[in-house]
Point group: C2
Chain length 446, copies 2
Amino acid sequence: MVKPSIPKGTRDFTPETLLKRNYIFDIIRQTFERFGFVPIETPAMENLSTLMGKYGEEGDQLLFKILNSGDFLKQVDLSQDQDYRKVASQICEKGLRYDLTIPFARYVVMHRHEITLPFKRYQIQPVWRADRPQKGRYREFYQCDADVIGSDSLLCEAELMLLYDEVFTRLQLPVRIKINNRKILQGLAETVGCSSMLSDITTAIDKLDKVGTEGVRQELQERFLPQEAIDRIMQYLQLSFAELPAFLANSAAGIQGIAEVTQVMDFLASTPLKNELVADPALARGLNYYTGCIFEVQATQLQIGSIGGGGRYDNLTGTFGMPGISGVGISFGAERIYDVMEQMGLFPEKITKTSAVVLFACFDVAAQRFAMPLAQQLRHAGISVEVYPEPVKIKKQLEYADRRAIPHVVILGSEEMASGLLTVKNMQTGQQQQLTVEALISQLTE
Amino acid sequence: MVKPSIPKGTRDFTPETLLKRNYIFDIIRQTFERFGFVPIETPAMENLSTLMGKYGEEGDQLLFKILNSGDFLKQVDLSQDQDYRKVASQICEKGLRYDLTIPFARYVVMHRHEITLPFKRYQIQPVWRADRPQKGRYREFYQCDADVIGSDSLLCEAELMLLYDEVFTRLQLPVRIKINNRKILQGLAETVGCSSMLSDITTAIDKLDKVGTEGVRQELQERFLPQEAIDRIMQYLQLSFAELPAFLANSAAGIQGIAEVTQVMDFLASTPLKNELVADPALARGLNYYTGCIFEVQATQLQIGSIGGGGRYDNLTGTFGMPGISGVGISFGAERIYDVMEQMGLFPEKITKTSAVVLFACFDVAAQRFAMPLAQQLRHAGISVEVYPEPVKIKKQLEYADRRAIPHVVILGSEEMASGLLTVKNMQTGQQQQLTVEALISQLTE
């Protein structure tokens, strides 16, 4: 008999972990809804024609592909040597969702006649990537995205900053929210005389946190930027946001980018954030499809990379034949948020309890029968209750309560059944009280 | 450009549908927790060695298999004609979860050292089956399971009946809960002299609702039961539970089964259910692994098959080398529950609203800026709020509120900014009020 295992890079979630994860998801979900975002869900499987070619060549390799059902070899000629990629495309039509953005774009196109613009949607679902598993990187993990499509207003960006602020405030996790604008980076490219190399510049600057300024310099050299341009980019990376207008004075795009970030800040002037909000010229973001404001969130008290990010894009659905849909979105890195909160001990005691609040420990079957309607009464008052299923020794039932961290045990025997008064043991203090069921309910719900 | 589509048998969930689905899941989840069940989650992908051979030959064919990453052909010789099943096992190591029971069994074995028995777990996750899609049958659908393992007490069965009763009462969906016991069916098999054909008898009786008594008779004939036995089984199917003791008097198993059902009923004597609970000798359930009490739930006001079921089993984890783990579980058929509730119009009006409660409609950008802190104040009071992102004509903003069914619109212009009094339009009555933000909050939260 082989010992059972799970695929590498995947995880079981125990009750304890899951309650903590759901604490994070619930706060994100509730905040999304407070800001008027509505949920959608898409299937785990998408057609490969929807997914392929959307995440670069490397992304295509990281898609989990699903074997066609039935005799998948029927139409395939395998008699000669073939490239495995070509064979895969013949025997697999479907793949697992790689992110939530492409499925959202596909959703918008398919449901365009029922969607009212501006459309504010959120989506919290797992995605799958055949990445090499390593610490903190999994093959199955959750993404939490919110997007507003169909409006160019910078009010959307401002509200998303408030949303970030709200979520991390409620999680009690102090963060720095960085904002920049792709037009500012375009202005930089123009200013240093390398307009056509915007993507190289963005990619290099995006690595700043990881590799430092010297690393960025090297990356730019490897990408064959002229030395003079590289020197000016190094200069740029030292600038504060206030110094940008002078530096980018000759770029219309740069000026526009500065104006947009300023306008977002203006919208927030009367609702100061509880967390830091910094306009950071050195923020670049890796993805190519951003065209306006970009954001990134970092925990201030731990070095762990970004725990959130997003930005504005011009063309969500063009790849599916529906041009002109622009929008702006943010994402929460739930897995990393979990890790940070765990390391910092930020999960409230209450939600780490994986158990009922009350256990009925009964001397015999008669006491169990007596317990049933009482347990129901507590449950109807919203209290989570277990009745220990076997009338074994009370000591054993108390041990179970202890191991499960159940804080209150009602001990039921013939005396309690006669008097109607319950013996309630507080498992933390060891104290026992005699209470009516009503008194117990009001103690536990006050 | 090919119009995008999704794989057949899968679904997108729009906000409207999703809020209704989550209404059902939330009630099930909350009730599970009130009864002391704790959640677990397992990966979407399991090793095929975990899944294969657990669901019968047909089940193996219905598993979605995932192509190995990288060059999956490397170790495979495809030069000669091969059986596609054999090839599949060479190029796929993983498959998508087919149900929640086998992953739970695998979980119990892998986590046995951290589990305290009795262990009450629930699990609400999607499963995937390469079934032929048809009305009401999907290739991706949710299962909602609760199981107690590690206790033989019939109190567990009684509590699960209460749990069913509670969920369907809260959903306002009247149901009939049927209970029977596999030992009673064993007693039937013994009594008619066909002990070795219990599985044939169970399978045939399980079809009673679909094919009627004559259909069952035919099925039994096709399975070569003696005519006399068939006649007695037909007789049995007419019996009430009260008449069983006489009929099964000579079978120890039968007597035991009757006693177990009776004991479950005794546990429930002082907590009468709000729905019907019927001991039904003709209830059989299809699955082979049940050994004790079995349950099934049907909507009383619509013919739609079972919307829940479960039972007691002896050996959850034997197939993974860990014998002796018995338990009892129930399952909710969430997809069918949704269909029934939709047909009967049981979803509360409130949860079908896919929108914010308040929209701020602003005359200009100054009014938008003014709106931001007010919107935040409402959100902090738990109210879902949108600020319309563009300062277009108020008429257009009101149309948006109308299409999105947002019930209250705050119209903000220079007058409101000067006075601090908000103009609040009730979109249903058309009436307008002048209110302070505090007054609006207390109106909306009372």
